[in-house]
Amino acid sequence: MRHEIRLKIGPVRFRVGSDWAGPVAALRSLYREYPAADGVPDYSVRLEATRPWRRFIRPSVAVRGDHMLPDALPLDLAHGVLAAEIGMNLQLALGERRWLLLHASSVARDGRALIMTGESGSGKSTLAAVLAARGWRLMGDEFALVDLVTGEVRAFPRATSLKNEAIDEMLLHVAEDRFGAELIGTPKGRLRHLRPDARAIAAMDEPATPALILFPRFGPPEGAEAMGEAETFVRLTQASTNYVPLRRAGYDALTRLVTSVPAVAVDYPDTDSAVALVEHLWAGL
């Protein structure tokens, strides 16, 4: 393709090709501190004009690649970074069979991982970013990769994708030079990427042992309630993009996770109380 960039995020290698220079330049900037990703990629993502002339006239980006979903909506060229992010997510969600994928954010401390999963809007990305700003190691804001053999979590620390109010919230915690350009009017609203810190990138190949699973929910009243193994199991099958296709290996990995790691549903009215709750639960492990 006309423009191309290679990215290595945690253990996963991508190549992203684009009909336009813009999206690749934006990715290059966002991922400038990441190690070089030479070798053979695990996945290819293509950002293509929906029709040849749409490269120039009302340019519109179709997200394609090794794995594609029908019905995917093309994006404005101005939102090319989001298109690339969607493309990379989709490759893992549909194609990955090396790890059990949980749609979850994760952070680590002392080699032990905290996994946070919930619907979009639960604040799991923001929570991970805030915890990272307070000394935790960011492992990822989108997918936690559970090793099928060891049960350890692998990091997938791509740039954190912040939406709407979460952008303003994070600007209180992190210097603005770590942010990418603001994208206005995306299908997800206002969107801005936050570059993970140097520690998250340096440690991205280090696995961590899962120690706590949280199901955060934004909104009062503040509270925490332990979740039983069977409910945790079922909720995590619904948070996994590849539980069913992994068959036996997925069942074994998930069973091991829910029987060895406590799970807690937490409600929180604001970020500070969420951080306090997390620290409290973590101290009690």
Partner: protein, 128 residues
Amino acid sequence: MDEPEATAGVPTRRMLMLGAAGASMVVTIRPALAQTAGSVLTCEIPVPEPRQRGQWIAEDGTVVPPYTKDAVRPPSRPLKGEDVRKALRDRRLLPGTSYEQTQAYTRYMQRLQNGNSGFTCFVSLKMR
């Protein structure tokens, strides 16, 4: 019988509540399509499918010839997943449509089956 491998403990008690015959007691874990599509979010639902272009949508969501009595015109563009999700969640009208149109389009989408254009998108919206 085929042999399932049980994990979580089977409850054993002397009194066995059999429950109602009509209830469903076997639930199978389905692929989490919502999470897959959810990571993508931007999808669209053509109403009706491209191969049925020009047809109208009846009150019950079926596709009918143009100008059929009580049917509504299809939208000029495919519906955006995000608009559909908001409309479903907040019980609001789809942008730029009448009450009758929103009703008919919603029923049309509810009738979609795997293999139809827009099916994956609609399922993912309902599940989030």
